[in-house]
Amino acid sequence: MLKINKAKWAELFAALSAQGTLYLPAEVDGKVDFTVWQDGTEVNLQATQTAKSIKNVFFPQIENLLDFKTDGLKLSVEQRMLPEEDTIAFGVRGCDVCSFEVLDKVFLKEPVDAFYKARREHCTIVSLACSAPDETCFCDTFAIDATNPGGDVTTWLVGDDLFWQANTDKGKELTEKIQALLAEGDEAGVNAQQKATKEIMAKLPLADFKIDPKIPAEQEKVFNSAIWKQLSDSCLSCCACTYVCPTCHCYDVRDFEIDNKVERFRCWDSCMCKDFTKMAAVNPRVSRLERFRQRYMHKLVYFPENNEGTFACVGCGRCLQKCPVSLNIVKVAKALGVAKDV
Amino acid sequence: MLESEACENTNYNPLIVAFCCNWCSYAGADGAGTARKSYPANIKIIKVPCSCRVNPLFVLRAFLRGADGVILCGCHPGDCHYTSGNYYTRRRMKLLMSTLSYLGIEDGRMRVEWVSAAEGNKFSETMNSFAETIKSLGENVKLRDLRCKK
């Protein structure tokens, strides 16, 4: 295991940044979010959670796909360039790392999403283990080990030292490039931190929250549950949960017309929205109940059913923090009785 | 400062959208035409039945799409063809202008003027003075959608 002292982090970030665009959690205007590192960026590795997820980096909220141009009566189509620059996502927590597994199952399956794939292939993920989980965290529910978050490189922040361990070829390649900055480190500190963190996690309110892996099989029963009405009645149908969720991946394709040009772009969408997926003029899920149910059925039932039991949730807890009316997947799962709340 | 740069650039020809009510200001513009009172060509008029038909959305849309200035002309208060339309315009636009200023948009990018059907002269003078103001303010960069580059 390698390590690097806080005193040398600035050098580390500069070195990483030389390898590609470096995204890392930084504080901007009182909020910690993934930001492109530059000299002077206020890096924050203490925050349990970035406000928005790492999804923004791989699957940005808005992305131009192609342009149509007219010249008199002639029409030409121009593809937008694939985003093929090298990037490094640094300081990604375990939950967010696992969100790629979910997104990969969507975007890398046929038909492959070329834009996502290009970004994904050109990115090296440097994860950061959790040491101070919050009450909203429940990654453990999905067997995610926040203390050993994986990715191409795993890092642990113990005291003023950042411990560094390459996991994949990509990770090793990156490590070699910055080898000069890293020193040999002792695993004991990391192990102690992992143990302490797990003890804390056990004390948190959601420690016992588990989702019954058998629920996909009970699809019909869950779908027809009477509880949806009461739950959805309180939902505002905003998209706050969707947009902060690291695994939600729906998008809409729209055109922006400018004189003799049309820019076709995609932008995030949410199944909670009234105007989501308009078929024959209207959203087939006409009621708030249906739309609300769809989001949670998708996360807890349909997605695992189609993807070897993987839930479309990584327990990051962002929706618990951001919902204007404090509705969230935990409340829903518990209300539905699919939680094994021991 | 953007402002001073634009001042020096004498070739800068600001794009101005003028919403004119059918009964007074559009007729005033016609009057300016009949009297051959010129004003910059980059001022383009959109006819609306009454100034109260102008939604702040249209104004913002014009800015978003790259207009450097938007001017709204209607009948003088009290003379509205529809009795009270311009009284609503007055409140609506007052608030919109105040808010644009509050958002840090240059004062003067938007203007409201009352021009009657008989005031061809005033129409032309107003347009000339507005174009001058916009010229001194320079290009609208603050409200423009970057996709709409001209």
């Binding site: 909020k31 989980p133 706050a240 | 509050y102």
Partner: protein, 326 residues
């Protein structure tokens, strides 16, 4: 607050038992004490889940819209500030007055959990409030706060303990005890800046927007069947932020559409997941309206003419002076 919670429960029980209403809107607890959600109770046996404490900021008025269309009789518990929004919804014909029973409940201010968490508090296990003392028990140890220092911004500019509409009032009126904030102070501060500074400020604020529409969806003045920004026909529909200009447009128009109708409940700013200071925009409109057209408090009644659908012959002209819009 505990005492009031009991009164609420009793009232809800009698309303449902005596079939005076078919539904009662109140709050139910969440996972962490501070995350209560609005809920609709339809049977007395559900009421053991009813909660009322310092974490019930939501205005329940907007939830009455759906039932109103179905001619359902509903009761709603409303804090003094909530009654403004309810009046506004009645005025906008989104709620039928005759269908609803408004029960005023006293409030001594709601706590902003973000203020607590922003001080580095993590792993909250429970919160207990007694008078001005707030004890937060966390997995990392206990933390103490003064309630008056961790109130929601909207409570620090509380409009008072009077109900603008109430068929019945429970308990005794309470006051919010804290250093009072005037929402207009923030606006004045911005107004005093230079144009460039203001632009820079709003660029930063509005560029945070992710267009989740939470501000709109919580707003008691935003009660349209279909928001113009969701209407493809309106040519302003936008889901995502292409650049700040679109965000500016959305927020200007939203503030403009609620101008003279915004009751100043501060919910938009509270629910914004990005922490945009939306109140600064709505309060600006309110301040301008008060200055230009005379004092007006939306939601104080359900029949006055809103300033933007009204006029006077001698209204101030939209002219520009050297110092800006006057």
């Amino acid at each position: 607050m505990q005492k009031i919670a009991e009164l609420i429960k009793k009232e809800a029980e009698s309303l449902l038992k005596e079939n005076k209403v078919t539904a009662v809107w109140a709050w139910q607890p969440g996972e962490f004490y501070y995350d209560n959600s609005p809920v609709c109770f339809t049977a007395p046996e559900q009421l053991d889940k009813l909660v009322y404490n310092e974490f019930c900021p939501s205005n329940l008025g907007k939830y009455l819209m759906a039932g109103s269309k179905k001619n359902e009789t509903m009761a709603v518990f409303a804090k003094p500030c909530d009654t403004y929004g309810i009046n506004q919804l009645i005025k906008d014909h989104r709620i039928k007055r005759e269908l609803i029973t408004v029960i005023g409940i006293p409030c001594s201010g709601m706590i902003d959990i973000k203020k607590i968490k922003n001080q580095g508090v993590k792993g909250i296990i429970s919160v207990s409030v007694s008078g001005d003392d707030v004890i937060v028990t966390t997995a990392y140890g206990d933390k103490n706060f003064k309630k008056s220092e961790v109130l929601l911004a909207k409570c620090m500019s509380c409009k008072g303990s009077d109900y603008m509409i109430a068929d019945k009032e429970l308990g005794e009126k309470m006051e919010v005890k804290c250093q009072k904030l005037n929402p207009e102070d923030g606006v004045k501060k911005l107004e005093a800046m230079t144009s460039q500074e203001r632009f820079a400020f709003w660029q930063q604020e509005l560029s945070k927007c992710i267009r989740c529409n939470a501000c709109r969806d919580i707003c008691p003045a935003c009660s349209c069947e279909q928001c113009i920004f969701d209407n493809q026909e309106a040519a302003v529909a936008g889901k995502a932020s292409a650049n700040t200009a679109e965000e500016q447009m959305f927020h200007i128009i939203r503030a403009y559409h609620v101008a003279g109708r915004c009751v100043g409940c501060g919910e938009c700013a509270r629910v914004c997941p990005q922490g945009i200071q939306l109140g600064l925009l709505n309060t600006k409109f309110a301040k301008d309206i008060n200055e230009f057209y005379g004092k007006y408090q939306p939601g104080a009644d359900d029949d006055s003419k809103a300033p933007l659908v009204d006029y006077k012959f001698d209204d101030v002209e939209p002219t520009i002076s050297a110092k800006g819009v006057r």
